[in-house]
Symmetry: C2
């Protein structure tokens, strides 16, 4: 068994940026993504931001031949945007929706409406059970003052916990998606440390940039010389998945990062008696050959993995020493605590506003009754201002109450996560 | 190993009915529940409807000696109400919030605000890994015309899926909680069939009713003679956990069931090389000795389980033949489809209402501009009615839009569940 040739698995991951009415040249790009998947014939394609079920259906119809199995994860108002295309039968699926995901009133950011989730599909190839996870975490709109950091950390924590609890019977775990975190961010270090997942980019034996800017026809074939991976993980141009050269990215957002940023990942680990290595990692750059646009505002990540059977169980291979893990959990917990205090302040403010609006309404009722009782009979009753004020009072009361309830949920979930982290820290410290 | 004496585990399960400001004599009853847990010294206590964190803290302070480990699951506006007290260390926890849980505007039912969930705690006793699940599903307010059946079925399905995916490394699985389903209901048959869990009541070697009505001092000790379990599962008086004799139950709701109903369960199964048997099952009846009230409006379920190591792996022991399982999934899927159509109708109605309100506002803007432009200069402009109508229009628009978004989520989740069920059915049918 040990001498068997390794199983080769080619995985494709892309944030497709396919938002109906908002994303530029969406249908054309979805068509191009389908063409590429068809041409390249990957084993697994993990797509995010496929918000329109029609786009998914179109892709499914086009890819039925080479990817006969697929799954679309539904959640939230718009959907989760997550879907998986597979050459191998999908045996089972499960969706876990993150408990926190931004604010419904931040309409310009819209994350709340997406029902951000992690999807799990289970596939079996040559008797090897793969737990394949796909996710998309809350976006980072301002790195200097990132109001969503506590929410994203709760998501990263829930993602790690979900993977740990659901992957115990798997042989190999794969995670692909747009994590909206730079490689050195606490959330991704926590995720990797707590699950033992390895970063395909950092582990890759060979790294290739597929394509040159301007679609010179070499797209998908050009290869840069093999380079030691550690050089890339220091913020090198290659490996970045959100780059200024992409015509759809917002250049001002990438100003502090002239080479781009890496926020899309393929992570993996073997759980039982298998080893996984990343033989090759590629990203796209530039436009699609013969076209003036790239596939998406993100670059695709393509990994070629080799899975070998080992003589003995590989164990969970956490890869992170416990003191380092404890440090990460402590760091994350502090950020969650900061978010908790902010949420408590907002809950207090909205609660106070609701009480004030209620008081205003009570005063109005008293004044109204007084007017009816003829106490102010000598003066004309200001009906218009009275009605306007009453409606304003009702509106403010309802809105403030809704927000108070929302922030109460936020406080509860942040408290719950903080407590879970504290429990893990205690367990880590108690271990001999 | 096989000859070792079995591990005995005493499990307590109770819906505590501890809603702040609403439940009668709440604090007194929580105190009595604490007294009983302290006196009886169970290994595990699974409590539902502990909505107040203060009540949990009080219980924790009181039970610290005999149950040194505990966990409270936070979710939703009010909390999940779920907590676990354990004699053995809790190694890890995970919370899964159900994607559907009633309607926020059904204030009189209030389930939506509770963030109904399933909580998982992992404990290890003598080297045996227990995955202990605790849950509380959506209440049934009208059995004849149960508007919440599709939501409860989605919850039962998600519960089953969550247990299946997270319990693969466990030796023994336990589930306790208020499932709000009668033993013959499709939801519980589906849950049992799809997870392989066994009903402690139906499997119990001995069934005892602990206590007599009126608190004659024998509470907790009286034993009815051993009876064959199959006799009880036919809707017999004993085993019921919501009974007319309980002074807190609403008698009119139980009119069709003069003996009461059984909706609180302890379910179990062994996964790896273990067997579990239920040696004894007890429920409470009547008032607490020396007091004029029972512990809760529900009766407590107390099971004594014996866990034995087997020579060979027991396997998943699903216990349900695949054709029967396929029938259950089909039955559940039909109910989910009914719910889906209702949700689609409501989405359509609320969407139409939002559009109408928007049209009204547009008309008002036009009229207002007309008045400003002096088109109706000859007539006095009806400011009051105009403002009232505008506010009404805005209010209806916002409300209808909110409801539209809510029903969109509902439709998505029902579709997602239906598709998952279809996938399972296909897999069941394809199996040789």
């Amino acid at each position: 068994m040990e001498g068997d040739p390794p199983l080769q698995l080619r995985v494709f991951d892309l944030n497709c940026w396919a938002i109906r009415y908002l994303s530029k040249r969406r249908q054309e790009r979805v068509g191009l993504i389908g063409d590429m998947l068809q041409r390249e014939g990957f084993d697994l394609a993990l797509l995010q931001e496929v918000w329109s079920e029609q786009d998914y259906s179109d892709l499914k119809a086009k890819l039925g031949g080479c990817y006969p199995f697929s799954h679309y994860f539904r959640s939230g108002v718009i959907g989760s945007g997550l879907c998986v295309f597979s050459r191998f039968p999908i045996l089972d699926t499960l969706l876990y929706q993150y408990s926190l995901n931004g604010y419904p009133y931040m309409l310009q950011h819209g994350d709340w409406f997406c029902g951000k989730s992690v999807g799990l599909v289970i596939i079996k190839i040559s008797g090897i059970v793969f737990n394949v996870y796909i996710t998309h975490l809350h976006a980072e709109y301002c790195r200097e003052k990132d109001a969503y950091l506590p929410h994203r950390l709760v998501q990263a924590w829930e993602l790690a916990q979900f993977i740990r609890h659901t992957s115990k019977a798997a042989d190999v775990v794969l995670l692909g998606g747009d994590l909206n975190m730079h490689p050195e961010d606490v959330g991704i270090r926590l995720l990797r440390g707590w699950t033992g997942l390895r970063d395909a980019f950092a582990e890759a034996t060979r790294f290739e940039v597929s394509g040159k800017e301007g679609g010179t026809g070499s797209w998908g074939h050009t290869q840069s010389p093999p380079t030691h991976p550690s050089a890339w993980s220091q913020g090198c141009e290659d490996g970045c998945t959100l780059v200024p050269n992409n015509c759809f990215t917002i250049k001002t957002e990438l100003l502090p990062f002239p080479l781009g940023i890496r926020i899309d990942y393929i992570l993996y680990k073997a759980i039982s008696s298998f080893t996984v290595t990343c033989e090759k990692l590629k990203t796209t750059t530039g436009t699609v050959p013969g076209r003036d646009i790239p596939l998406s505002d993100h670059e695709a990540v393509m990994a070629t993995l080799h899975i070998r059977r080992q003589g003995q169980a590989g164990g969970a291979a956490s890869g992170t020493a416990e003191p380092a893990l404890a440090d990460m959990v402590t760091e994350a917990r502090l950020e969650v605590a900061v978010g908790l205090r902010a949420a408590q302040r907002q809950r207090y403010s909205t609660g106070r506003l609701a009480v004030l609006a209620l008081l205003l309404l009570v005063l109005q009722v008293v004044a109204g009754l007084g007017a009816l009782g003829g106490l102010v009979a000598g003066q004309p009753f200001p009906k218009l201002s009275f009605s306007l004020l009453a409606f304003l009072g009702i509106g403010v009361f309802l809105l403030a109450t809704g927000l108070y309830l929302f922030h109460t949920i936020e406080v509860k979930m942040l408290q719950g996560t903080e407590e879970q982290m504290r429990m893990v820290l205690r367990a880590l410290q108690e271990r001999p």
